[in-house]
């Protein structure tokens, strides 16, 4: 082979000569995600890593997300088998304070109500299935619905079990809308509450003892074991981390879950999720449908949370500000902070943050429970 041939061959293997339009678009999408992470601080840890993964996955020739590429290795090591989201959940558990929820257990109901969005989006996906160019099985629909759980690891875990091919768009939708909660929720909150409701002040929460905080994760896990074993990987991981934090005798474990381990796993998980954004799988009408349905799920979840809070306010002897119902979608701690902020817009002296943390962490439980139901029932129905 002479030198000219060698240059020719080299040229044929450059990116310039091998790009598809789709790959260019996806690299642009990755850049936009990184831009949003950096400039807007939207869920930066995840949007940054997912965005970078999306860029790497769409480089021609290199096959970084293929089975022998390094993103493909991350994917096999922890996404395909559901491991990474569970490790993240351990860290989340070690960072979660169930205190506000234990002080006011009624708020658990708000965490239930806000999951209705999941099932609305699920139905929506089955309706979209009737359109041309879009094909969603029941398992696909369930995975799409779980976007409404507003909890990234839960969405990734469910999708890895039910509908792997949609992992890219579902994870992107979940984290994107979680980061957009401050934009999505306020108008919905204002639409479904009156000013009179929004200025309601809530009684200060009582002190919760350490023993209650130790027993709660055990009790919640016990209930989950009895009623919903398919949710125990998620709830078990969450409560492992939470009990490690609350019990006070295994601080090495608690610190590791909250720092070294969750950070390492976040890097691997983000890049591996990004690697599922290859153009040929991502640039489809189904992705558009998923993005639309994710928004529907967040909107309906916010609404149903608020509506139940209004009902509870009517029947409860203590006052309940309906705004905190919106925090039931989870998206911890963003949704609670949004609730606090909307409350302060009406009355700058109304601090709803701690009250909203109750439904907020209840929403994490609620979406894990919903995930367990989907994992239990979908295989039966199909």
């Amino acid at each position: 082979m002479n030198i000219a041939n060698a240059f020719q061959e080299f040229w044929n293997a450059t990116g310039v000569m091998n790009f598809t339009i789709g790959q260019l678009v996806m690299i642009l999408v990755g850049l936009v995600m990184i831009y949003l992470a950096i400039a807007k601080k939207y869920e930066p840890l995840l949007l940054f890593t997912i965005g970078f993964g999306a860029i790497l996955a769409n480089i021609p020739v290199a096959e970084i997300s293929g089975p022998e590429g390094f993103l493909g290795i991350f994917y096999q090591a922890g996404i395909a088998n559901g491991l990474f989201p569970l490790l993240i959940f351990m860290g989340v558990g070690a960072m979660t304070d169930f205190g506000p929820m234990i002080a006011n257990p009624k708020t658990l109901l708000l965490g239930a109500a806000a999951q209705v969005g999941i099932f609305i989006a699920l139905l929506g996906a089955l309706v979209l299935d009737m359109f041309p160019f879009i094909s969603f099985s029941l398992a696909d629909a369930a995975s799409i619905g779980i976007i409404g759980g507003a909890d990234g690891p839960t969405a990734i875990y469910v999708t890895s079990q039910l509908s792997m091919r949609l992992l890219g768009p579902i994870a992107v939708a979940a984290y994107s809308y979680m980061s957009l909660v401050p934009i999505i929720q306020p108008p919905i909150i204002r639409a479904f509450t009156t000013k009179k409701e929004r200025v309601i002040k809530m009684e200060q929460l009582r002190h919760v003892t350490q023993l209650e905080k130790i027993l709660f994760p055990i009790a919640a896990l016990a209930l989950c074991i009895v009623l919903l074993p398919t949710a125990t990987p998620l709830i078990g991981s969450l409560m492992f981390g939470n009990l490690a934090k609350e019990c006070g005798v295994v601080n090495r474990i608690s610190d590791t879950l909250q720092n070294a381990l969750i950070n390492i796993v976040t890097i691997f998980l983000g890049l591996a999720v990004g690697s599922r954004m290859e153009a040929q799988y991502f640039l489809t009408f189904e992705t558009l449908g998923i993005l639309a349905l994710g928004l529907v799920a967040f909107g309906f979840g916010t609404m149903t949370g608020i509506l139940l809070a209004k009902v509870m306010n009517k029947f409860s002897k203590e006052d309940i500000n309906p705004i905190i119902g919106a925090a039931g979608v989870s998206a911890v701690p963003m949704a609670a902070r949004v609730a606090n902020k909307v409350g302060q817009e009406e009355n700058p002296h109304n601090f709803l943050l701690m009250h909203a943390m109750g439904p907020n962490v209840a929403g994490v439980l609620g979406s894990a429970v919903a995930a367990g139901i989907l994992l239990a029932v979908v295989p039966i129905l199909m």
Partner: protein, 76 residues
Amino acid sequence: MSSIEQGLVLMLVGVAVVFIFLVILVFITKLLSYVVLRYFPEKEKPAPKKPSAPAAGSRDAEIAAAIAAATAYSKR
């Protein structure tokens, strides 16, 4: 059964079970708080708990002393 019908079934089961689960959890949590606050109230400070179980409680202090001794020793 059409997939929409399946979806409706799933929705009903799902919403029902989520609520059943969390309603039960409300009661469990209330019961748990009741029992803890009534029968195992928190001492004024968590610190006094240690003297009552010196064998276990003073272990850390003991280790600290050992480490201090070992450090002093090895730095000699």
